[in-house]
Subunit: 208 residues, 2 copies
């Protein structure tokens, strides 16, 4: 059980609470539900029940399961939203747009620190790993993979994601220079074509 | 001070020990020295002094500072050695050789688990982050960067490294399918050209 979950004493009567604490109560219930059941099996109805509120209130505060999940992680980046925005644009700009969006979201100290904590969680052995894996598979990789109807679409999506994760690790985690402070435009120019290649290129094509 | 360091009681007389425990004593002293002073400032002489042995004995067991450092991390991969081997081959095979070597070293359960622990350490806020950053800068990135005399050589090396780190994160950390179990040959074919592009390509060149 998570630290947050332990804080609420069982059997303690719920008081009438303001809007802020109703939202907080839903977030706590969601954190428990995701940790216990994983992203895939968790349901908004069960979260509402755990929080002792009506399902409609959950929908009032959060725009679906992905939104609620991102809120419990305090995620500085919404990879599912990022994809929606990027995919609305032209296909030959997908690579550069993905990098640009990622850097726009993370290039401030607080967001960078938070993404590093989330990356650490992913590498742990606790429930966080499974939650994030399920979330990424369901909300991100499958959408990226839908860009192509080739049989290797999912592998392509994961390789594109791997390049982005590597940029996060070196720029925000390891913080080696010059990548830690390189201008976003330079990284967009250098990394964009790699994503384009992973997603749409002929694998094994030499690159100049 | 590290857990290992605390175990030795100060003032307790050193007993005559066999070869195995002399090596272990050096490893403990090295772990302390690296944690306290970082990779860059740590010296083999200071490690010998800490371990209460002659410097010659350190050189007998370990092939220099990089070797000793990798041993204290129980690193399943020697990125500095990997580079030496790869750089001995033809330049247009550097990308594929790097990926192949990485996967050969890490594609067993124990090594994969260990590299995930090291990646976690890198993302922490303890002395591990600084140690690994200094090691990578000194022993890996600078050698990769020496492949080119362009002013952007270090950034290129870091971007190549970022793609490799991303593959480790997704294949061994997140373990999403299909990248978690994709054949090594397939990853070599797909990721090799990306490293080649980062290291030697014209940045921003569309790929495929």
């Amino acid at each position: 059980m998570s630290e947050v979950a332990e804080r609420r004493r069982p059997g303690r009567p719920r008081k009438e609470r303001g809007a802020g604490s109703a939202r907080t109560g839903i977030l706590r219930a969601a954190a428990e539900e995701f940790a216990e059941r994983g992203y895939e099996a968790a349901s908004l109805r069960a979260i509402a029940r755990r929080a002792g509120v009506d399902s409609a209130l959950v929908h009032h505060y959060f725009d679906g399961k992905a939104d609620l999940f991102a809120a419990t992680l305090e995620a500085p980046l919404r990879p599912d939203r990022m994809l929606e925005i990027v995919l609305a644009g032209p296909r030959d700009a997908v690579g550069e747009s993905l990098v640009r969006y990622l850097l726009e979201q993370l290039d401030d100290e607080k967001s960078a620190r938070r993404i590093v904590v989330i990356l650490r969680t992913v590498l742990g052995s606790g429930p966080g790993t499974r939650m994030v894996r399920e979330f990424l598979t369901r909300e991100v990789l499958s959408k990226l993979a839908a860009l192509s109807d080739e049989p290797d679409a999912t592998l392509r999506a994961e390789l594109a994601a791997s390049q982005l994760v590597g940029v996060m690790m070196t720029r925000y985690g390891l913080q080696v220079e010059p990548i830690a402070t390189a201008p976003a435009d330079e990284l967009v120019r250098r990394v964009g074509p790699v994503l384009q290649y992973h997603l749409f290129g002929a694998a094994g094509t030499p690159v100049s």
